[in-house]
């Protein structure tokens, strides 16, 4: 359940942004989460519901934008879509590919007032 730690990091970032920009309330938090990121989205939503209590984001809506998995294969020098860590390269069937997208754990933006 490291999703709680992730939410605490998100709320720390929000507090830092509030100091910098002087807002009083967060209306929406938008996250980019990769398809192959080591996160359970339902657990993340659940953890956010709990950890946001008593913070500037207490009533914030959480929007998660899932980022698709992309890989570059050194064997065939092509790139393509992957959905798990054990998918073969969609072009040559190799397994030595490097993930170029889909590992994101990122705060994209905040909507504040």
């Amino acid at each position: 359940m490291h999703e709680f730690s992730l939410c605490e990091s998100i709320l720390d970032s929000i507090a830092e942004q509030a100091r910098r920009h002087g807002f009083q309330r967060v209306r929406r938090v938008v996250l980019d989460i990769g398809e192959l990121a080591n996160v359970e989205l339902e657990a993340l939503r659940f953890a956010f519901e709990i950890t946001r209590c008593g913070t500037l984001a207490a009533t914030a809506e959480l929007t998660i934008i899932e980022q698709p998995g992309r890989a570059e294969c050194p064997d065939c020098a092509r790139s393509g879509a992957v959905h798990t860590h054990f998918d073969p390269c969609p072009h040559c069937g190799g397994h030595r590919w490097r993930l170029t997208g889909g590992h994101e754990l990122r705060i994209r933006e905040l909507e504040v007032e």
Partner: protein, 252 residues
């Protein structure tokens, strides 16, 4: 009337697409205009900052720092105790031991005479870079040697938390079953070496070694796999040589 939401507010702005740090009118809750702040920031950016500090400390002391991860009961502590006993006269060593509540792991390492510090994580399911940094203030780094950081027994949560280490040592024991590489693929993808432990029990458990190794290749094609037994010492020479090579590589 406001062209953005039609509320008639005098403080209106044209209905333009939101832009970084820009303002758009919205009736909101009366707290003021709604703003959009574009961050594009890693959720774990703070952890990454602490990890960078740790990494610099390790580099300055010429220390090889290894993050040991496994499920509970894979034999990490037995493996560590045997490893530090074998290497203690060869190079400086130290151990940071993460354990939810007890000091049992640290006591087993302390019995070998190697400096050890316990990090009690409480309900935490992983170590993080800040916790490791704090512990390093109390445990002198083994200059020119190896620091073993024994993570909390967990195949999921430690993956995302960079501690500033040089490599992640993943321990899987044959009593856990051969299905783990696909079930816990992210940690197999992140590992620098896989130690397949308790191979002395292979004859007694239903563990499909061929399938396990094949699945490891599917997740991480180049991952070195060392088969060993921390109990009997089988395969240990290869593991100790792996450590010596990593230490030597650090000095090149």
């Amino acid at each position: 009337m406001c062209t953005s939401c039609g509320c008639g507010h005098p403080d209106m702005l044209p209905a333009v697409p939101l832009r970084p740090g820009g303002l758009v009118h919205d009736p909101g809750s009366g707290l003021g205009p709604v703003r959009r702040i574009v961050l594009e920031q890693d959720i774990l950016a703070k952890n990454a900052e602490f990890a960078t500090v740790n990494r610099h400390r390790f580099a300055a002391a010429g220390v090889l720092a290894l993050n040991l991860v496994s499920a509970p009961g894979a034999g990490k502590t037995t493996l560590l105790a045997r490893t530090v006993t074998a290497l203690r006269d060869e190079c400086p060593l130290a151990v940071l031991s993460g354990d939810p509540y007890t000091a049992q792991d640290a006591e087993r390492i302390a019995a070998t005479g190697v400096p050890v510090l316990q990090i009690n994580t409480g309900k935490g399911c992983h170590l993080d870079a800040q916790g490791v940094g704090r512990a390093l203030d109390r445990l002198p780094l083994p200059e020119g040697g190896i620091l073993f950081i024994e993570n909390v027994g967990n195949l999921v949560c430690p993956v995302d938390f960079d501690l500033g280490e040089d490599g992640m040592v993943l321990v899987l024991s044959v009593t856990e079953g051969e299905d783990k590489p696909l079930k816990y693929a992210p940690i197999f993808a992140a590992a620098s070496v896989l130690l397949l432990n308790k191979v002395d029990l292979l004859a007694h458990v239903d563990f499909d070694l061929v399938r396990c190794l094949n699945d490891v290749r599917r997740v991480h094609a180049d991952l070195p796999v060392l088969q060993l037994s921390a109990r009997s010492g089988a395969g240990f020479a290869t593991w100790l040589n792996w450590l010596r090579q990593r230490c030597a590589a650090l000095r090149r």
